[in-house]
Amino acid sequence: MSFQEKSTWVLLAAMLAVYGWYASATFGGLAESGVPETADNMRLIGTVGLMIVISIVAHIAIAIVTRSEDESDERDRLIDLRGDQRGGFIMALGLLGTLTLALTGGSLFWIAHAALGGLVAGELVKSISKLIDCRRGV
């Protein structure tokens, strides 16, 4: 398994765990407590910040463990490019959804979470695209 693939697997797992926790903590009790007017800023920013820290630490750790036995080449760059393209498309859809919510007077809570949702969905699609391309070929 290449460095790129290992790194993508770890990031995907971290994303599912961190954002999964965030989603259950934030949306879990909505049915009983009702939708708040704004998002819990500290939790939201903290979650995104935590994900960034995990990404950096995981990337460095995998690079040390695999000792960069292979550096990236043209195939890796092509896989990255295809992942970025697909993830970027989904992220743009998320942005349009967020914009629509803002223009139609949606609550700050849902605007913030539409933006976060677009970001997360884009990253998930990017990671899954990379893993599929690594395994099945480009």
């Binding site: 290449s2 990236s72 080449d73 043209e74 195939r75 890796d76 099945r136 070929g137 480009v138």
Partner: protein
Amino acid sequence: MGKPTRITNRLRELRFHSQELTQAELARRVGVTRQTIIAIEQGKYSPSLEVAFQIANVFRVPLEEVFQYPKEA
């Protein structure tokens, strides 16, 4: 799978005839990852012209002896 390629290659055979040159060694000489050599051998990736020529150079054969493309009828 990505768009299936019609390009075939004789990498495995050429490696065998070069004192069982390993995929890792070929990758090192060409400057790509071992995964890329594996993907090329399995027909899952078509390399750039530059990498294709570099592979041919390693085996000291013309490009057409490494990679083949079916002629149109």
